[in-house]
Symmetry: D2
Subunit: 405 residues, 4 copies
């Protein structure tokens, strides 16, 4: 497709997403006169999707200059990249990057002299630390996986600037991770395979918010779900929610579909592949592509080939095992990522957190901060209003009662 | 893409579907020595999908020659068409046919001298009757919509050959219509729009097996569902299943997504469009494209344009209304149709019904027949075995008890 | 409690049920001027519950005289018996009858010279046949189990009068058996044991309408459900509905609660008890008390005793097995039976079927009839209206379209 | 019933609950040699149910002396009171206490010289403060409502001894409040009314853990649910969970059943009663009986009377409104309270918290403490083991990975 067509398509996709992300619109309108990001050089490492384009355009409208690379080598929607480029964004991202290109692109963003870094997974932050990039005032991070890494850095006393962990906003992880990823993960699996979910035995590794969302949607589509956990309390919740809870080794020969949502590595590994039944399908919903030991799939297979893009077949021990989206996060690689409605909530938190860091970085320490409570509750209120949900108010009598004993 | 690549892709898609449709394989292996379709010229009007290719290849293996057109101008997967062509099938179908091409292609199939016609919607059968095509021994029909038309023909004494209504097999409509279409309709809507289903108010017109399936999956993905019905008993069932039941006019200004599953025409029409809220999405899951009055959308809109293929925007009364897949059956046009697992059951019924008609047409009258009970229960048993489901048997004592008083 | 108090309580219970069974009221008001049951001696064998009292009072209002025994020795609500007695009904039923008293009471009803017999399980009909009772014009039967027995009688040419199988009305079995028994069976189990359903592994034997209802409510309360079936098609449906489907012997050592809904005998028997895990709970939702082999529980237990009424403990092989309601139909013995809303639909069918038999018996043969279609659809329409459900009507254009091809 | 029979029945109920609360047994066996409560005078205000008797007997086995009153005037199971009395507990509680008797009984407990107070709702704690009872070392509190009151006291600097808020253990509120109260509230409503839940429109006020549980079970039984909230974030969660979210005034004329779960007062009040539809049912699942303005029901009704115990009818504006359990917590008054499985988790936290307070009170301040993390996770691990749930362990590699960046 020609570039001009890509741009036109990208713009239409932006418009569509924008029409579903009304609270970003509201925020921009509220603040556009003051241009709170005026003069800011913002460096982004995010999935290059239509929803991200809504955040980027909003940041520009509020005064920022933006450079952008992808948070995953396989998640770039090229029409969006073209569209953003046409709007003056420095875009270092293209469809199906190699591992090397992916890291080179992160480096490119760091070379634009960014002052605030917004990341998804923290490869951008980690590289900024490793390369000792100067001039960074602070940053934000979108995911659980990324925050875990940054906290490890913080605990070792190596964090060089303040960061807001956006995932910790309740209006982010309660919605995006659960309802968003729950839906988009199942969608991606169906899109890539067209299998019927009803009656399938689906094994879900990890029962955090992502795992809860995926399990709920799998059940809602008629699957039998087994949850694999390492934490007693989450295991109890899964049990009470009506799922079977087992060690992975106990169900590895019974599952039809395996989905990892742990933030851990090597969750499904060599010893598991060899016991799976013929036709088993593997998908990862976690941020990094190390939850399934993909290299061991290659090493152990007599033969392997692509059925269609992002659907690969491995012959192991006389059986066919299918891997989706090369073990990378399936909802972004195999489909279009999370729905605009939940990304609106996540990115409203991002936008307000970027403004907060830009304004307050001098008063902040080199720590991982939670999203300020007022931002979180502001996003909740904007969402309620936008969705047309009506809620009650406490009467004076009730407010008083809440404080009585 | 070059033809040779299309063929290769088509073959891989066939293989993938074939690997998920084990009962067709079992049937072919059982019967291949006797070639029960030897000498048959089979004319097909079906959605040209990878699942259909499994049926076609099976029919060829059992001795038949096949000509094929599409059951819908927009549902042709072109790599499948290329692959089947390479296997000697006379294929009259391509991607995005015009209305005229679509009917011309049906005519082409009728001109190959088919002896048995297998149809999906009955345009092939109706044209065979209108054109008084000679030499047809009998036929089969896949859908509720098609069977309704053929029964109307039969009642008027005009049916010219015996037809088996495959949809009436319990192993067809209980599974394909409900679990298959339920899943694939929601998938298609999400694929075309990426909207979050959770929290949406979805209005489902019709609570037959398709409507039941769509409602169940919408609820399973977190939607609030309102059912619109004309039949008291179905309305009661929807009510007891936990759905709101209303006249369409009562909810037309409240719904976020409308899905028609009725087999009727003009279910959503001019008077409804004008009252819908901004952003409403319309999709049809019924066989024909007349359930939503699409021409009235054009007539009433100040402006209309395509956002992306099969997602069109209409400006009506200052609001944007979105139409999916041009009002045609959304799971086939917007996605890949029903999952192979349920198509295996439907097409096992088709294959055995085709054999039945070819063998027994002399003993049959010019009527619409149900699928013979032994075929239906044979398909159930094959499915049970293939899926690894274990069931109990009645003891002699219990068999006797069932006959006692 | 004194009789006068029992009557007062019974009357309040009747009022309460009556207020929830509006369609019976509507029917009585429509017909009361013509007294269509004038002169009829009606013999009933039904569970003596508040819902039944609504049917009985309605029959009296329409002109009938009524004698009544219980359909189960343990299901009599004694205040209802007292209340009906005070209204002139010949009541042969009391709380906790012995087996012998139960059959004696049936005999008593037959000695009142009944002309129409309305039965639940068909012990009344079978005894009428065995004792060759004269003067019976026809009858009705409420349950699947009873109809199976009557059809066996019919097939052997021994049926002595026409009977309408009320269970076959769609407004009966689609609602009463599924939603009614589904809810009331779970309620009874919880009422008798107070166990948490969430997380429990529940094994449901039989996936007819009762089994479907029980499975759906068990899942809705958070259980993991395994279905046991002998029929391939039902097994497939259970599988696609997201339940595990297994032979009973495969799960007998894994289930926490076992519920029989089959209409068959010896479904859970000696060989199963011995393998169950400690604490397993057994309940029967079928009409007769032979689905669980209760006598073998006694024979195989080292010790057995009552925890509280209808909750008995058996020590078998060092484990404790608990039996609910002595193996009799748990929702009627352990709780108050099906909710008035569904009993209204069932008993509207009964009332209209009794009128139909009384009027038309001369034209009817000695066969088991289905409920006439007009009765069924009349009940559906009354229910819709009573529940405030609004439905659409086909336009003239649509009616015509339905008949076109 | 004679006292000796009551004691025997109470003991059987205790045994039954005990057999379902295995983790209490495990804890007692672990600690019985050390008698960690030796010499303690423990004062309890709890619902006098069979599950509570398991806690009391355990406390006695570990060395404590116990006095006991009820946490609600209507929730005493008299056979349990008799049984505990026979075991040496000073029991000040009987069935259907008046308001005055209820408070007198609390006073009685305080006059036994208790050292640790365990409360449910905090009337015992508040009275201990008001009466300036001496010699109290510390206490625990079971409910959200009670903790809210104690925090108000703490904020005003008036708290006189340390208290552990047991409700804040994740193994308490995530399970007891949600799965326990969810099930038992619906059960109680059905037990008192026998209404069919399927198809009913149920309005749930409050979407905390109790509200979430009640909503989930109502939906699981086939209801349509509307949630009423005052908090934006909870409202958003309810919306995404597939419930309608509205102001109460918007649905007050549409609901069939109203359930309050807020911890607030006057949630359903005069202005609402008058607009409700005929037949509406009101139930409270919160701790105190002020969520529904019961006195206004009396003031506004032309007539009111009891249908049966805990089901009262009020004639208001020509319509009948039904109130369950006199507005008191319906699952304890109308049924037997929460299932033993979740009470085991709550009471394991209680038992360990009582031991903690008794041992460590000198080191504690006059504050409301959360349950110590090691107690919470200990209860989780015991539960996992008892329920036979198997979970995985992180490998050394994975533990290291979790700490890396």
């Amino acid at each position: 497709m020609k570039n001009i067509e890509l741009i036109a398509n990208g713009e239409k996709s932006w418009e569509w997403a924008y029409s579903r992300m009304g609270i970003i619109n509201t925020l921009v309108n509220e603040k556009i006169d003051h241009k709170p990001l005026k003069g800011l050089r913002l460096g982004l490492s995010l999935h290059v999707t239509k929803e991200t384009s809504v955040l980027v355009i909003a940041a520009i409208k509020l005064g920022s200059k933006v450079s952008l690379c992808s948070a995953n080598p396989l998640s770039v929607q090229e029409d969006i990249a073209a569209f953003l480029s046409s709007k003056g964004v420095k875009v270092y991202a293209w469809k199906d990057e190699t591992e090397r290109e992916y890291f080179d692109n992160i480096k490119q963003v760091l070379q634009t002299g960014p002052q605030v870094l917004t990341d998804d997974g923290s490869n951008l932050h980690i590289m900024a630390h490793n390369k000792k990039i100067q001039g960074i005032l602070g940053g934000t991070e979108e995911t659980t996986s990324g925050i875990t890494r940054l906290r490890a850095l913080e605990e070792q006393g190596k964090l060089l600037y303040p960061i807001i962990g956006v995932n910790e906003a309740r209006t982010k992880h309660l919605f995006d991770n659960r309802y968003g990823t729950g839906q988009s993960t199942l969608m991606a699996i169906i899109k890539l395979t067209n299998v019927l979910i009803a009656g399938k035995h689906i094994v879900i590794c990890g029962y955090g918010y992502v795992g809860k969302g995926v399990a709920s949607r799998a059940k809602g589509l008629g699957a039998i779900v087994t949850v694999v956990e390492v934490d007693s309390l989450r295991a109890l919740e899964a049990y009470m929610d009506g799922y079977q809870v087992r060690k992975i080794i106990e169900v590895v020969d019974k599952g039809d579909i395996f989905i990892t949502c742990t933030g851990q590595k090597n969750v499904i590994s060599e010893k598991h592949f060899r016991k799976m039944k013929n036709g088993a399908i593997l998908a990862n919903a976690g941020h990094f592509d190390n939850e399934i030991e993909v290299d061991k799939l290659f090493l152990n297979s007599k033969e392997n080939y692509q059925i269609k893009p992002y659907l690969d077949c491995f012959h192991i021990q006389g059986k066919k095992i299918f891997l989706l989206s090369k073990g990378r996060v399936v909802n972004l690689v195999g489909a279009e990522g999370n729905p605009p409605e939940v990304m609106a909530m996540s990115f409203a938190n991002q936008l307000l957190s970027i403004i907060h860091v830009f304004r307050n970085h001098k008063k902040m320490q080199n720590k991982v901060y939670s999203v300020p409570e007022n931002i979180d509750s502001n996003v909740a209120k904007l969402s309620i209003k936008y969705l047309g949900i009506s809620i009650d108010r406490l009467t004076q009598l009730q407010i008083k009662y809440a404080k009585s004993y």
